[in-house]
Amino acid sequence: MYQITCPHCGPRAQTEFTYERTTDSVVDPAGDAQTAMQALYTRANPMGLDDEIWRHTYGCRAWMVLTRHRVTHEITAVKAIGPEALP
């Protein structure tokens, strides 16, 4: 059960969060079909660090990129994603 430091809410339990996908599997709807299918259907799936999009679904509902290690489960970085917000 990770503790994920949400950029907005601080350290919270993993059950409040949802994993969406890796940052390199984001499909740009405006892009060409070949690039889109490469992004959708190929993964590095490394036994190490990868950048992943998560959402604080049961918390502030905001999205973020976690740099997470897939063996040790260490989370080395968290970066908020989202529209411009009033601090």
Partner: protein, 419 residues
Amino acid sequence: MKTPYSAFSLLRGALNGQKHWEPAWRDPEPRASYDVIIIGGGGHGLATAYYLAKVHGIRNVAVLEKSWIGGGNVGRNTTLVRSNYRLPQLHNFFEFGLKLWHGLSDDLNYNVMFSPRGAMFLGHNDGDMIKLAERGDAMRCDGIDAELLTPKQIAKIEPLLDLSRDARFPIDGALIQWRAGTARHDAVAWGYARAADALGVDIIQKCEVTGFVKDGNRITGVETTRGRILAGRTGICVAGHSGHVAGLAGLRLPIESQTLQALVTEGVKPMVQSVIMSQSLHFYVSQSDKGGIVMGGDPDNWPSYARRGQPTIKEHAIAQAVTCMPALSRLRMLRTWSGVTDMSFDGSPIIGPSPIDGLYLNAGWCYGGFKATPASGWTYAHTLATGKPHELNAPFSLERFMTGATIDETSVGPFPNHR
């Protein structure tokens, strides 16, 4: 030849302190090259080696295992064996395997304890029952056994299920496959290892593949922790670690590895007869021969190789199992462990040539690899022997994701975590 296993030879052993048994497999040093190298000493890898030697007469084969054979997913699953899938490409593939299971102990001369005690999917509402009838009709039309059960019939098989009408998830009926059941997972790995070793296959443990030997666009061998080993054809067969090993050859597969938790309770007298699953709930239950209730649910839906699960995911599966079978409540969880499942992006396996000459793929088994062991071994042996897929694994090509011919049994789509 090794002393064949039999009741008689066991009795002979009673007199001589069992001294006459030879090691079940040798521990050879790796040779410089082989006709075929199989990466991964799990159930699928060892079965592939056995059928290469037995069916295709190709014995100059090495199985490379990074730690000890049977230590990966074949040693971590919940031992279910069945072919009751809805889509024809899948149920025909698994049915071919189920027929092999029925003769496997004699074929290997190693009792894998395959026990066809029946595997049933429970239906909790009309929608479930229609889906179960559809699955059963699709199977029956392709010659596979499937039978609908009424609650009364279920009660005779599994009296401890909560068949009351006011249950939180009432049980309206079930679809059972009587020829399905369970097998002793370790015995499958050891049985295939012993039989393959007897036919001359080299099983090399403590030998991790760290890279590939490339000659232009052709793979001609592997670099390992015990030196370089060349091969005519190299077959990746490492289940949950497919993404990592294929990555060493520069391939990006349509696979993410997820943790699948399982658990066993303390041993109790017989209380669960068959294998119990559900059409709309996410748990499955069976009882081992030692009396432990073996249970599992959905994978943890984010990528991990750690073989360490998130506790509340397991608790949710247990809650559903206890709701359907209240008698489980006062048993105690004895041990919980995790496998690493290579979740493919349509839920079906990938068995066939890779885009690189001389390199072949057997991966994407998600959480259903154990039941496929004999069929996967047979078809992958055919593919490695002939260079072309067998008719049964032809639909499971890597290209299907780009052409769109995906085979999506649970119709979840390209993100295994979007369940």
